[in-house]
Amino acid sequence: MYRSHVLVCGGTGCTSSHSHEIIEKLESEIAARGLQDEIKVIKTGCFGLCALGPIMIVYPEGCFYSEVTVEDVPEIVEEHLLKGRMVTRLLYDETVQADEIKSLEQTKFYAKQKRVTLRNCGVIDPENIDEYIAHDGYQALEKCLNRMTPDEVINVVKDSGLRGRGGGGFPTGLKWSFAAKNSADQKYVVCNADEGDPGAFMDRSILEGDPHCIIEAMAICGYAIGASEGYVYVRAEYPIAVKRLQIAIDQAKEYGLLGENIFDSGFNFDLHIRLGAGAFVCGEETALMTSIEGNRGEPRPRPPFPAVKGLFGKPTNNNNVETYANIPQIILKGAEWFASMGTEKSTGTKVFALGGKIRNTGLVEVPMGTTLREVIEDIGGGIPNGKKFKAAQTGGPSGGCIPADLMDTAIDFDNLTAIGCMMGSGGLIVMDEDNCMVDIAKFFLEFTVDESCGKCSPCRIGTKRMMEMLEKITEGKATLEDLDKLEELALYVKQNSLCGLGQTAPNPVLATLKFFRHEYEAHVVDKKCPAGVCKALLNYKIKEDMCKGCTLCARKCPVGAISGTVKNPHKIDTAKCIKCGACMESCKFKAIIKE
């Protein structure tokens, strides 16, 4: 028995800020004081509050230390672990109230969350199968194999109302029943961990923090549909997730939880990892399977659906990581328990990756139906630097945006679709008044132009032409007629593309046109970018009353666009100016503004 447990986050965010060095230092400092038999250091998955990383929690007290550095470690070991005095200066201030330590669950960030798929992230050591087993791990698989028929398993998943968390929102139980119905000598279970939506990282965090739950869920799916082999397709950009998943697979094989005759039931299941190589379109299920087969990841028309003809031409079931992460809990606690969370048509919880202009960037899991306002203001802690909330972008390059006046929308699949938005995989990027919505639409379109596989022309050519129109707009060369053309083309691409990538690529444009048409019009009619982002529409100006005539800006200007004499106000020739901003950076009197 240990008297203290020190949990250090080993997720990608905290590892990037050197949490592994903190762990090494902790272990050496603890050993130097001979405490290694009393205190255990555990490297866990993501706690969710990435903004405050690296994060360390000390139990039994439940002290939440934030932004810990290697230099802080000796003090924590000496003061807290040896002498029992907390290092208050490092405690997350939300957890300290009138000198009392509040539990993490009471902080605003965690209070409204409901952690189902993330339940083990930041709690267990993901590289140790025993810790997963101690948290009810593999009990659901045992229950399925020995006490349920495949049909019963599928019915529980159907009754739970679980819908695919990868973006589409298709009922999971129904999908399983399609694959189960088709008979073949070989079927496959595929897990889509090719999390391509920039700004979403829940799938990565689940794989890093709780890899065994995905293995267990895939084995359950294999039993339900009659498959004995599975593939996990992971982004190569996620090295930590890949490593931990491989460790987990090896451990599960060693324990007989993968392989032949699992739990003496006669059921065999084996799992392989395949790495992606950086192609967004491989998140589309037919493209993903083509890629596993070793080809260019191009999608193909459906039907035939994967449940009929999928991987290697065999019936295949494909779900994403977050969807699978719900399965063991649904089997153990029942369909009613799961359906009691969330809304009528969107049951359960959803994980969101909060990013952008928000105080608490990180991962949050809330019941479906939570309003955007609760997520951003209560959990996310609002917008930093006293700026105003402008919009939240959901669903990445396939999604849309939610403007400030719709902040009380309850987030679920159908509500978001109704306002022309999309749940997507759960990236939630917050934007403030400094972000230009036309620029954001252009940013996403640039992404889809680059990632379009080129197989069908509406997507390959259509997105490119849309991109050119957006460039015209941000350069102030467009007319109002172009806006109508842009909208018409967007709808055409949406209706005529082959796969999900092209069908959703115009969404960011359509959504910003719908909610922020006035910003587009400002670019087109007034030739102004209200947020001050689009370079071509900015003009640098010297405020006469502030300029001391020091000549520094004139000397810094690379194109000689600034003229004036010593001690007299200077002037910028806007025709010569290349808008590099060098003058503004150099001015000591803040006399140069852009408008």
Binding site: T12, G13, S16, S17, C50, A51, G53, E195, G196, D197, P198, G199, A200, F201, R204, A236, E237, Y238, R274, L275, G276, A277, G278, A279, F280, S291, I292, E293, G294, N295, R296, G297, F312, A353, G355, G356, K357, T361, G362, Q393, G396, G427, I429, M431, N435, I440, F443, F444, D450, E451, C453
Partner: protein, 166 residues
């Protein structure tokens, strides 16, 4: 996506070739392992020169056209060598809305190269990357395996200087 193809002559060593041959031997019976072989080959050589793609095609008995098709389809495969220090600036959404573009612009300005290029002395190469998932630290960049977070353009010169000396 358009790929920059190397004009540098191929300089593979016999050790590298032996490693590649062993890798091909191990996987040649399963054509679905093509991407795995190419990923490992890129680790061996640092990029995928045309000569290496030919060896893979012949060794695995897969048409060269297909190998080349795969190498140009996926962003991860590089057809030109990287610098001693490869700088990759994350242009994921979370980083972008927090000003990642200005970080990329500043580095490009300081090194005199644009994204996808390598400096003439072979010390630095620059690329814009997809989301690396460290959104809590946005904007982020990687120099080889080192991660730099919460960046501002004025930190760029100092960080680059560290590598120029090394």
């Amino acid at each position: 996506m358009l790929k920059k193809i190397s004009k540098f002559p191929f300089k593979g060593t016999p050790e590298q070739e032996a490693q590649l041959k062993a890798l091909i031997e191990e996987n040649k019976h399963d054509s679905s392992m093509l991407m795995h072989v190419m990923q490992q080959a890129q680790l061996i050589y640092g990029y995928l020169p045309f000569e290496v793609q030919v060896m893979i095609a012949e060794g695995m008995d897969i048409p060269l056209e297909k190998v080349y098709g795969v190498s140009t389809f996926y962003a991860q495969f590089s057809l030109s060598p990287k610098g001693k220090y490869n700088i990759s600036v994350c242009l994921g959404t979370a980083c972008y809305v927090k000003g990642a573009q200005s970080i990329l612009d500043e580095i490009a300005k300081q090194l005199g190269i644009s994204a996808g290029e390598c400096t003439e002395d072979g010390v630095f190469s620059l690329e814009a990357s997809r989301c690396i998932g460290a959104c809590g630290l946005a904007p982020v960049m990687n120099i080889n395996d080192e991660v730099y977070g919460k960046l501002t353009p004025d930190q760029v010169a100092g960080i680059l200087a560290k590598y120029k000396e090394a």
